[in-house]
């Protein structure tokens, strides 16, 4: 677009297909209806109609992580409208990342956090799913909150990580560091 001289300052972000800034409607000339896509991931063709879509304007709930392990109600506390999903599939059909968004919403209703997390792992938070939802569900937002809950309250502990943190604070590597810092500053080649 900028090679054609367009002043494109907004609506462009990472240019790598993951920031969700450049959502467009694009219709190849031989099609009747456009499809949503990320502009930076779309090959332009002769006669293609392209229209940039607005950024996500849905409200994010101030959803802090709870003290105790979450349940399905933790999600509903911040995103109660999720229950109103009428399974119309609009969210799934508009997603430029081809996520089965509605199935993710169903997983939320079942309280299945690992399943929600898996569904939304490629979500770029463009918010189109929320924009088209007639029941005012915000799938990307409840999806991210579910992912964060699953991550923060993961059923198992990363014991190697915790052990390493203890080792470091107990000074386990002090001697090695002293030798190494001395060696690496005086003798460049020999560490």
């Amino acid at each position: 677009m900028w090679h054609l001289g367009h002043t494109l300052l907004g609506k462009v972000g990472c240019l790598g297909g993951v920031c969700g800034a450049c959502t467009v409607m694009a219709r190849p000339s031989d099609q009747a209806l456009p499809k949503t896509a990320l502009a930076c991931q779309t090959m332009v063709s002769e006669g293609m109609e392209i229209s940039f879509l607005p950024s996500d304007a849905s409200k994010k709930a101030l959803a802090l992580l709870p003290e105790a392990a979450p349940s399905r109600d933790t999600l509903f506390q911040y995103y109660p409208e999720t229950r109103r999903c009428v399974a119309c599939q609009a969210c799934s059909s508009i997603c430029p990342q081809e996520i089965d968004v509605m199935a993710g919403v169903r997983d939320v209703l079942m309280g299945d956090l690992p399943a929600v997390a898996e569904r939304f792992d490629s979500c770029v938070m463009c918010g189109l799913c929320a924009a088209v939802c007639e029941s005012t569900v915000r799938p990307h937002r409840v999806g991210l909150y579910a992912r964060r809950l699953h991550g923060a309250f993961y059923p198992q502990t990363p014991s190697h990580l915790l052990d390493r943190i203890d080792e470091i604070s107990a000074g386990r590597y002090q001697a090695e560091w002293s030798d190494l810092m001395e060696a690496s500053s005086s003798d460049k080649g020999n560490v």
């Binding site: 900028w2 972000g13 990472c14 790598g16 297909g17 920031c19 990342q97 081809e98 810092m181 080649g189």
Partner: protein
């Protein structure tokens, strides 16, 4: 069949026989010779001497020299400097380092304002695919991580910065997990680890090939939860000082209205990222739209010392075909998982997990010496054979572990599970940057720098996965240090006096260029 197809068929035909083939590693001498001969960092004609400022007499590439020696947009302009915002800490940049810094400063009790040129989160962080290096495995250690990084950095790393990076790695990984970053796990709950180029042990934490996206999504969510004031599409155009060498604020511009915003801050953190969109030496880039090295030129004019301005990272595997994907990264983790690099004859030419500087040099050698494959658009590249990953690790590995790669190429009807792709080095990272101490403070008082904009941690070549670690460790440190400083400091006088000093230096050195910096957007963008 065209040359490209014939060559591709050779790759397909030799796949099975290559599967268990050993590739010798380079000796330190061989690697050194290869890098000196072919790496873009050693191409003399690409370099110029810096004529003014704290790094006068040192070398950098023409594209950076031009900006460092550039004039301020406000030189000899009368700008009313009555503040529109007054805060403890101003954070410039909305990527991973900026967001982490904002969270740390807020948690430490400071009043915080964030400003970003694009939207919060639209950054290089969000694109990081491979992972984050943390010495977690029982047989690993922070010391080993340090040694690998030092060797990878050609021994040019700042030892103190590097030690802090590796030592604080485990605790920041724990912090990320606590705020809900969902790293891949093993069946026993431990973090799943992968190998990276130049690392002696598997040490990469990751979230499939969406590690940066996952990090940025969560950090951004936290910033919004904390109700931190973020001015989007409002880049900083100039720093303000008290006229005596202390940073006291900055001038921003609202890109929508064109209005200037004057911020008076006790401390400023620059977290504006790197330089990919300068397209140094004509290279394509893996970087986001706004990666134009803004921190370098602004802090340099105010008197800051920079470091390692002569070295950049060209990631070995940027896509070159189709043309629309030129420059886009193919993650190094794909090579960790077994993908081969092959020239036009279908022959391997380098051990794929050498450090990035060595692999990039080898790819450039093949193409310079006529063993590259030409694309229809006239680019040169070599093959990256990804179907081998499934062959070695089992059907479905690419789809499950690299869903982003599979999707991105499938949009152009290339199935990486079945066919190789063409790659060439792409401008990826500035190894150097603004010189900082371990609290991220630059040589200018109350001016802090975090993330890619800073320099020294990675020496002359950054190892894969050390950048995500850098932005979190030093994002936190900068936020903490800047808010501590703000507790004891008062708001200072707002002046542009340093521009006069800089202009005098320009005149004295005979710098005639009309370049205005920071650039903000790439040269090819119509900014009117």
């Amino acid at each position: 069949m065209g040359k490209m197809e014939t060559s591709k068929k050779r790759v397909d035909d030799s796949r099975l026989s290559r599967k268990n083939e050993d590739m010798p590693r380079l000796s330190p001498e061989e690697k050194d010779a290869l890098v000196h001969r072919y790496h873009p960092d050693y191409k003399d004609e690409a370099y110029a001497e810096i004529r003014i400022g704290a790094n006068k007499g040192e070398r950098t590439v023409h594209e950076v020299a031009r900006l460092l020696e550039g004039e301020s947009p406000f030189f000899e302009k009368s700008v009313p400097l009555s503040p529109t915002h007054q805060v403890d800490v101003l954070i410039v940049g909305g990527g991973g380092a900026g967001a982490t810094a904002a969270l740390a400063a807020k948690a430490a009790g400071a009043s915080v304002l964030m400003s970003t040129k694009l939207r919060l989160g639209d950054s290089n962080t969000v694109m990081a695919e491979g992972g984050m290096q943390v010495a977690v495995a029982p047989e690993d250690s922070p010391v080993r991580h340090f040694v690998d990084s030092l060797k990878g950095g050609q021994m040019a790393n700042d030892r103190t910065l590097l030690r802090t990076l590796v030592e604080e790695g485990p605790s920041v990984a724990k912090w990320l997990i606590d705020i809900g970053v969902l790293f891949d796990r093993e069946g026993d709950g431990n973090l799943s680890l992968r190998a990276g180029g130049g690392s002696s042990l598997p040490r990469l934490l990751r979230c499939k090939d969406y590690t940066g996206l996952e990090l940025m999504r969560v950090l951004k969510d936290c910033v919004l939860n904390e109700e931190i004031n973020v001015l989007e599409f409002s880049p900083v155009l100039e720093l303000l000082t008290d006229g005596e060498g202390t940073c006291t604020g900055a001038i921003l511009k609202n890109l929508d209205t064109g209005k200037l915003i004057v911020v008076q801050a006790k401390t400023v953190i620059l977290a504006t990222g790197g330089i990919g969109r300068l397209h140094i030496q004509g290279f394509p880039t893996s970087n986001h739209y706004g990666a134009t090295g803004d921190a370098l030129s602004m802090s340099y004019r105010a008197g800051a010392v920079l470091t390692l301005q002569d070295t950049f990272q060209y990631h070995p595997t940027g896509s070159v075909f189709p043309e629309a994907m030129a420059g886009l990264l193919v993650t190094e983790a794909i090579r960790s998982a077994g993908a081969h690099l092959l020239n036009i004859h279908g022959e391997r030419f380098v051990y794929e997990l050498e450090t990035r500087d060595a692999v990039a040099s080898a790819v450039i050698r093949e193409c310079q010496e006529g063993r590259g494959v030409e694309t229809p658009a006239g680019r040169k590249g070599v093959w990256l054979d990804m179907p081998l990953v499934d062959l070695m690790n089992g059907e479905g590995t690419l789809k499950n572990r690299f869903p982003n790669m599979v999707r991105q190429f499938s949009r152009y009807e290339i199935n990486i599970q079945k066919e190789p792709v063409l790659i060439y080095p792409t401008l990826h990272y500035q190894n150097g940057g603004v010189k900082i101490n371990v609290d991220c403070e630059s040589s200018i008082k109350n001016l802090f720098v975090a993330g890619e904009a800073s320099g020294g941690i990675h020496g002359r070549n950054r190892l894969m996965g050390n950048s995500l670690l850098d932005i979190v460790v030093y994002g936190k440190r900068s936020g903490n240090a800047a808010s501590r400083r703000a507790e004891e400091a008062a708001h200072g006088k707002l002046t542009l006096d340093h521009l006069k000093i800089f202009h005098e230096a320009r005149k004295a050195a005979g710098v005639m260029s009309e370049t205005i910096s920071p650039l903000l957007f790439p040269d090819y963008v119509n900014k009117n």
